[in-house]
């Protein structure tokens, strides 16, 4: 069961500014889904290794060779607020 305080805590971690209605709805919906999901915690899984890659792959090595990146102006063309050859953002410390 998730309560309002937990929903607000998780929303803050996820950087979501939920509306009041959404907080209530999310608490109810997530609780219902989690009730269903939690059954797997009853399975005996001691000593079972967690899956990392589904096909047996240990490592993926490659030569460390530089290749050209996309030009700066091409990347900045999609930015909401390009500033001085970079991404403009509000001040992180204002609040």
């Amino acid at each position: 069961m998730l309560d309002r305080a937990q929903v607000l805590h998780v929303a803050r971690l996820a950087r979501l500014e939920l509306s009041e209605d959404e907080v209530d709805r999310m608490a109810a919906e997530l609780s219902k889904v989690l009730d269903h999901i939690e059954k797997i915690r009853e399975l005996g899984l001691e000593g079972v290794p967690p899956t990392s890659h589904v096909v047996d792959v240990v490592n993926a090595l490659r030569a460390d060779e530089p290749t050209p990146s996309l030009p700066r102006e091409v990347i900045l063309a999609a930015a909401p607020e390009p500033v001085n050859d970079g991404f403009g953002v509000p001040s992180p410390g204002a609040a």
């Binding site: 998780v10 797997i40 899984l45 899956t51 096909v55 999609a78 953002v89 509000p90």
Partner: protein
């Protein structure tokens, strides 16, 4: 040109190489048909053939392909069905889309989808729902609903989509076409806007099994840009089997029993298809996948957890929507994400963030990854006795628009039969196996990793025997 709609893509490619059809004419005819779409299957349609020639010289003959919106296509809108990426035109093209174009299948259109591939009905798209061509009051399935509806309705010769927990197979089943999820790692994920990276896999949605094999043949292979991609052992043969002599099919009681909630009409069709397989020479026996019923629970922890991390990149800084927050950076992030994401995406981000949060990681994500190991072991054991595992693809046929939008759990249960194969990373194909109350039913075959050629061969023999008639959806 009107008879073109009754050709499979492979047949169209043959006519082009025989000089009976002109590739540029085929592209234009396809383009006009796509542009007149009434199902909302497309988010973008090409205005002209690329380079004017459709690259008819390649092995795919110039037959144009529709591509799910979440594949990045250079200079062409690629929004993953989300308003947070509205108008985004990436500066590069996904590997599988580039490979298809190089092989002679130019980009025809971008198809509608559930937002960030999260959904089983296509009702979660930021660009409106897609309608099922068999009955426009019903959903096409999801999340590759636009690709499935387009191919079923003859609005595109063939298409690609992505499958994380059934998102190719389930819409293929609900629209009466073929959908293949390849082995995890068989096709590069480079340029696919990520949902759950350990599960996402590109694959074909096509009119028949031969078309699916053709697309797969030209999209597999290791890609230096995706370190989880793998060199495919061997090549993809075009299917030609006409019988199933010596093929051992296993029916997993754990999935097809009461817990699966399979509709009676779907179950009747499944049994009928098994009887056909037996007539073709296959042996059919029950088998066990004891952990498979828990796959859905594990999936709805693993996929949202990975999604919550992948979707952190949508923060209003580098691309897409920004909602001005004059106050500070975090307010800007939070407002942008609140406005840009739809309800289901927020739900999954919340679920995933919770499952990964301090104090809950081991209990949820860690446990789910252990269940995943057990599920893969179950399949490995089953494949020692059986060539393929078979189930219905979806517990139900296409449901009415709006029927499940308010009940996330009911919506998630659509994936009950598709998710175990996703967690095990193994290939699975859905072929149309008949109708139930006038709506298509899908038959799913799953095989060991990299068994695609044999899997498609078996599906092809069944397809011939089933003789499914998809023409009502193209009317």
């Amino acid at each position: 040109m009107s008879e073109l709609i009754d050709l499979t893509a492979a047949q169209a490619a043959e006519r082009i190489s025989a000089g009976e059809i002109d590739a540029a004419e085929l592209f234009e005819a396809s383009r006009q048909r796509a542009a007149a779409d009434e199902l909302n299957a497309f988010i973008w349609v090409a205005e002209a053939a690329p380079n004017g020639d459709g690259r008819a010289g390649g092995p795919l003959g110039g037959v144009p392909v529709a591509v799910k919106d979440l594949f990045c296509t250079e200079g062409v809108p690629s929004q993953s069905g989300s308003r947070i990426l509205e108008g985004y035109r990436p500066p590069y093209t996904a590997t599988v889309v580039r490979k298809l174009a190089d092989a002679g299948a130019p980009l025809l259109a971008k198809t509608n989808q559930d937002e960030f591939a999260m959904g089983s009905s296509n009702e979660n798209s930021g660009f409106g729902p897609v309608l099922n061509p068999w009955d426009r009051r019903r959903v096409p399935g999801g999340s590759s609903g636009g690709s499935a509806a387009a191919v079923a309705a003859g609005l595109a010769p063939w298409a690609i989509g992505t499958d994380t927990g059934g998102s190719i197979r389930q819409p293929a089943a609900l629209c009466g076409i073929v959908g293949l999820k390849p082995t995890y790692g068989a096709c590069s994920r480079y340029g696919m806007i990520a949902f759950a990276s350990s599960l996402d896999q590109a694959g074909p949605l096509t009119r028949d099994v031969t078309d699916a094999a053709l697309i797969l043949r030209h999209t597999i292979g290791r890609d230096p840009h995706d370190s989880t991609s793998l060199e495919f052992p061997g090549t993809i043969e075009l299917p030609n089997a006409e019988d199933l002599k010596g093929i051992r099919l296993g029916v997993p009681e754990d999935l097809t029993g009461a817990e699966g909630g399979i509709e009676p009409g779907v179950m009747a069709n499944f049994k009928h298809t098994l009887a056909l397989a037996e007539q073709l020479g296959a042996s059919i026996e029950p088998c066990r996948l004891p952990h498979a019923p828990h796959a859905l629970s594990a999936y709805y922890l693993i996929a949202p957890a990975e999604a919550s991390a992948n979707l952190a990149r949508f923060d209003g800084v580098r691309y897409g929507l920004r909602v001005a927050g004059d106050e500070d950076l975090i307010t800007m992030y939070s407002r942008t994400r609140e406005e840009g994401f739809g309800a289901e995406v927020k739900r999954r981000i919340m679920l995933g963030t919770y499952a990964l949060s301090s104090g809950y990681y081991d209990a949820y994500y860690g446990t789910a990854q252990k269940v995943r190991t057990r599920i893969a072991e179950d399949f490995r054991a089953a494949f020692e006795r059986f060539d393929f595992i078979v189930t219905p693809t979806s517990p139900c046929t296409a449901f009415e628009l709006g029927a499940k939008v308010d009940d996330p759990l009911a919506m998630y249960l659509n994936d009950f039969l598709a998710v175990p194969m996703s967690l095990a990373g193994i290939p699975a194909v859905s072929i149309p196996s008949g109708l139930s109350d006038g709506l298509p039913v899908g038959f799913q075959l799953a095989g060991p990793a990299f068994s695609e050629s044999r899997l498609l061969d078996t599906a092809h023999a069944l397809e011939r025997a089933i003789e499914f008639d998809g023409s009502p959806a193209r009317a």
